[in-house]
Structure formats: C-alpha cells, structure tokens
Amino acid sequence: MNHIAPKMTATGVNVFYGRKQAIRDVSIDVPREDVTAFIGPSGCGKSTFLRTLNRMNDTIPGARVEGDVRMDGEDIYARSMDVVQLRARVGMVFQKPNPFPKSIFENVAYGPRIHGLARSKADLTQIVERSLTRAGLWNEVKDRLSESGTALSGGQQQRLCIARAIAVDPEVILMDEPCSALDPIATAKIEELIHELRGRYAIVIVTHNMQQAARVSQRTAFFHLGQLVEYGDTSDIFTNPRQDRTKDYITGRYG
C-alpha cells in the first residue's frame, strides 16, 4: 500500500437516476500514481460511478449525486467548483472512440485551445506532437495530421482520444471500457499505453474484462448492484478475494 495522500477520495456516494438508485454508499480512494480498475457485471454502476469523478452525470437529466467527492482535498461538487476546469483536470476516454469529425491535429488541439494552454502556434504544435507521441500514435499519423480523425482505424481513433485527453494536461484520466469496441491487437496497444502513462497520471479504468484488469491495474474495485463489494490491491483481489461475491465473479460463476 502506498502512503502518499490519495489523488481523489469519494465518501458515501449515492447516485440516483430519477427515483432509481444506481450507486449505494460507495467510498473509495483513487491513488495518485497507480492504475485503478473498476470491475463488475454490466449494470453494476461502475461506469456511473466513474462519471461522478468528473461530474459527467451533471448532463443527464434527473441524475442526482449525494455524498462527498474530493480531489486533492477540494470538494468537486462544491458550488464554487467550475465544472469546466474540473473536467480539464480530470480527462476521460469513452467506450466507443469518439473523435471529432475534424482533422487529427484539430482533435488534439481543441482542448489546449479552449483552455488557452498554448501561447503561440509553435507551442500548440508542440503540445499536439507531445500528446500524440505519448499516446503512441505520432509515428502512425505524423504525415497526415490534416486528415480527418474519423478516417483512422478503431484502435487508432481510441489512441487519438487518449492523446486528446492528455493534451489538456490532466491530473486524472478516466477510461470507460476503452477497449470494448476494439480488436485484440488494438487492445494490446492501449494496454501497453496505459502502462506507459502510469505514474504520470492517476488512471481509473472501467472494464468488464478481468484479465485486462489484472494486466493493467495495481488496485481493483469490484462493484455489484450499485455497491462497492471489495477494493484492494489487484493481486489480492484476484488471488485471495475476501468476499464470496467477488470470488464468484472472478471465477466466472456469473457476470
């Protein structure tokens, strides 16, 4: 276990969609330099919980979040919190690659532009190159930056989305089943990328693929029916689960 203060802490979080409760009393710490995986059967609320960390649930009509979520001790649901700045600090990668229908360059440059992170054209170009390089995409696209981002293959699109998230220099990156729409080779590349990004950003990844969780994460949280069943070091969860439900899920009894 690390003893550094966690990057994000959630305490007693409940999420409601209208009258339906999707998350029940979840408390979790997101460590600063590790990859955290959320696993669980579909509909267990892991994606919903992920979206409370950058307040993407705000945009769903009827969604209501209770409880306390903090980043570096700062309450992200406080009135004074500018949700726009929060999302710049907590990046997100979605299940299906969703590049903007613009050029590759513009896709990556969009975030720095709206946040005013580049002071000059050269600065912006540098940010784009660095982000694409970190996302492991630079060598594949450096000669066709003006082509549309939607013309790339699925795996490349997803890495473009990661580059786009990196470009605004976030502190946390949330990944919502980033490989579920990709083939195994593309998946392997994304996983490799997550390894490389580890340490630089706090990464939270939702996955329904347990092998993937075991491969990429250091910490694993198991969700079931909107509750956090078990949370601990990945090695412990997979080799020595304390809860029966976790064991059943991991051994493939259901899910």
């Binding site: 997100m92 979605f94 969703n98 903007f100 969009y110 975030g111 998230a165």
Partner: protein
C-alpha cells in the same frame, strides 16, 4: 380426383387441393386483382406527374414568347426636328434634354410617315421612343444622319406577330411582315411594372423580392437557429418550454394569410410602419419562416450524436462551447437545407403580402427597405388580373422565372442534403 369416402369425423381434414379448377380460378382472380391494384398505384403516380408536366408545359408554351419582343424597322431622320446642344447629351441631363426637345413626337411622326396606312404611331410601343433615346445617347451622330432603328411595337401588333392577335392587327402584320423582327426582350428583365405590356418587366418585382428575402433571412435564420439550439440543448423540461414548443409547432401549420392579418394589425396598425414596404413584407414572412427553420434545425441538431457532446464536455468545454464549437457546425448543413426550403416557400408566398399592401402598382424598383415595393409572386398575381392580352405571356414568363429560381433553390438544398448528409 376425390378420395372415395371422407370420414365424417371433424377432427380430420383433407389437405387443400390447390389444383381444383375452382382454386385455380380463384388464384387467377387474385393475381388479376393484384395487377389491377398495382396499375392503380402506377396510374396515381402518373396522373400526378402528368399534371405537373401539363402545368409546366402550359406555362412554357404561353410564357416563352414573353421573353421576346417584336420590333419594327423605323426609318428615322431627326435633322431639324430634334435639336439638342451636344454638350447636354453627356451625363445626367441627357434624358431630360432629349425629352424636352420633343423626341417622342418626332418618333411618332416618323412612324406616321413611314407606315401611314398600317396605323402609324399606334404601331409603336409606348416605350419605342425611349429605345431611340438610348440609341442617341450611345451615338449622338444619329441626330445628324438619317438612319433606321428597330423599335418595339405596340402590344396588339406584338401579339399578332406571335400569331395570337385580333383580325385588324393580323392584317397590319401581314402588310408589315418584312419590316418586323423578333428579338430577345431585354426590357423584361430590366423594367418594372407598366400599363403597356410591351414595357412591363420583372426587375422591380425581383428587386422587391430580393429586399424582402434579405429581411426575412436576416431575422428568421438567426432567431430560428438560436431557438432550435436553446430548445434542443439547454431548455429545461418545464411548462414554459412546452409552451414554446407548442407555439412553434402550431405556427408552422397556421395558414399564411393569418400572418398577413398579423402584419396588417401589428406592423401597420400598431407600429405605423410604411405600407407596401419590403421591410414589413420581410418581417411578416420572417415570422412565417422562423418555425420552419426551428423544426428543421432541431432535427439536424438531434442527429448529431451525443458522443461528440460527451467528448467535448469531458475535455472541459463549457455548454456554450460544446454547442458552438461542435454541435452547430455539424448540424449546419441540415439547418441550411431547412432554411433554403423555408426561404423558397417564403419567396413563393403571395397571400400575406397582399394583406400588407404589397399589391400596389410599382413602376420603379425599390431603392431601400422602406420604399413601396412588390414581389415576384404578387406581380404575377397582378398581371394575371390585367385584361390586356399582352399580359398573359408576361404572366407566364414571370412564372417561368419564379419557378426557375425556386427549382434552383430546391436543387441547392437537395445537393447540400446529399453532399453533407453524415451517417453516424
């Protein structure tokens, strides 16, 4: 064919024998019905198409000749008859100088001298001397040398030359045929309304339409797009929003003449805006077009996939940035298509404009938005009411122009739709 004995037990049924003559007949009958039904459908489509073609053919058949004018060769010797200081032939005073020097009378006299038995000056269009005037302005030497100029003839002669005149004019044409010619009627595109059909043109009405459409587009497009964005992207679900939606959907179905009544009562009655002005017409049509743009805009906006909005939001784009950087540009082709279709409808609209007085006789093209103006469809309506035969071809010709403009607009809309239609 029949089996010997059918047991009476109800539980057991013989399999249907499809080969019996009765069955065969029945199937044949059903197939015949099928063919009849199919033919009926085809006939309905063809009837609709035939009607359209007949309408177009009628308009083209009647209107094509409206683009031409008949001219008569007029021998002209203005020496001594029209005396103008050559210095005054340059610049703005030229028209006045020539008119003051009695050019019109001189032209009439020339016609009387050249064709005394066929009607003399009555052969000429009211605008014939203007043609001579313009020729002199181009070449002042005409005042000093005898020459022959082709000038437009009176409407009755024009019609007779186009094989649609009365007996007297037919006779005159028969005698004059070697001196007559048929040319493109440039005045039809350059002139305004006139009492003499040979002088009437559509430029005034076209310009009125243009000014009106500028006002309509300038108001309906931004308001329509902004409302569509608000309703689709931001509006909270409450009673107010419902009220706005119901309003818009109903406005789209309100008869256009009601908008005319609104314009009459509010813009003219309450705000005392000028009658017959393009600005009032534009305002009225804007209110009518706005709901069309809102509805088209909302459809285009909902077609933008939510994943794009999520992506922008997750990067920290504010709600306004999400919409103006991503949603609006992607929805724009669809919005534009809807706008063009709405504008085409407004351009063809007549009834509401009659209500606000745009049916006046406008002999000069409007210079600004508050000048009295008319629009092309109203001009068509006014000409269709004229008793003079010469206006029939002018009406149809104006209709052809209107239809060409509208077809072009719809063509652009269809092109936009096909070119930018994105499948997500």
């Amino acid at each position: 064919m029949n089996k010997p004995v059918a047991p009476p037990a109800p539980a057991e049924r013989r399999p249907t024998d499809w080969q019996t003559p009765a069955m065969q007949r029945r199937i044949r009958r059903r197939y015949a019905a099928e063919r009849r039904f199919r033919l009926l459908g085809l006939a309905a489509v063809f009837l609709s198409a035939a009607f359209l073609l007949y309408l177009l053919a009628t308009m083209i058949g009647q209107g094509a000749s409206g683009f031409t004018e008949t001219r008569i060769a007029l021998p002209l010797d203005l020496r001594g008859r029209v005396v103008v200081n050559p210095a005054r032939l340059n610049g703005a005073g030229a028209d006045l100088a020539l008119a003051g020097a009695g050019l019109e009378n001189a032209v009439d006299a020339a016609a009387n001298a050249a064709y005394p038995r066929q009607g003399g000056a009555t052969l000429l269009s009211d605008g014939a001397w203007l043609r001579v005037r313009d020729a002199i302005k181009r070449d002042p030497a005409l005042l000093r040398t005898p020459t022959t100029i082709d000038v437009p003839v009176a409407s009755a002669i024009d019609m007779a030359y186009k094989d649609d005149g009365d007996a007297a004019s037919e006779a005159a044409v028969a005698a004059l045929r070697p001196h007559l010619s048929r040319e493109l009627n440039r005045g039809f595109f350059a002139g305004s309304d006139a009492t003499d059909p040979t002088r009437a043109g559509i430029w005034g009405a076209l310009k009125g339409s243009l000014l009106t459409m500028i006002v309509t587009l300038g108001l309906a497009f931004p308001i329509g797009v902004l409302s569509a964005l608000y309703l689709e992207e931001y509006a909270p679900r409450n009673r107010w929003t419902d009220l706005i939606e119901v309003s818009i959907n109903n406005l789209a179905a309100v008869p256009s003449i009601i908008f005319g009544l609104l314009g009459l009562a509010v813009f003219l009655g309450t705000f005392h805006m000028p009658r017959s002005a393009a600005v009032v017409g534009g305002l009225t049509l804007a209110l009518m077009t706005m709901p069309v743009i809102v509805i088209a805009g909302r459809n285009a906006i909902t077609a933008v996939p939510p994943s794009i909005r999520d992506a922008a939001r997750a990067l920290g784009a504010s709600p306004i940035q999400v919409v103006f950087h991503h949603v609006l540009p992607l929805a724009l082709p669809g919005i534009l298509t809807g706008t063009i279709i709405g504008m085409a409808r407004a351009l063809g609209e007549t009834a509401p404009l009659l209500m606000i007085g745009m049916r006046a006789f406008i002999a000069a093209p409007p210079g600004k938005l508050t000048d009295p103006a008319t629009v092309l469809p109203v001009q068509i309506f006014l000409w269709s009411d004229e008793v003079q035969k010469g206006f029939v071809e002018k009406t149809s010709a104006a209709i052809i122009v209107l239809l060409v403009v509208l077809l072009a607009m719809n063509g652009v809309a269809i092109y936009l739709r096909n070119r930018f239609e994105t499948r997500w």
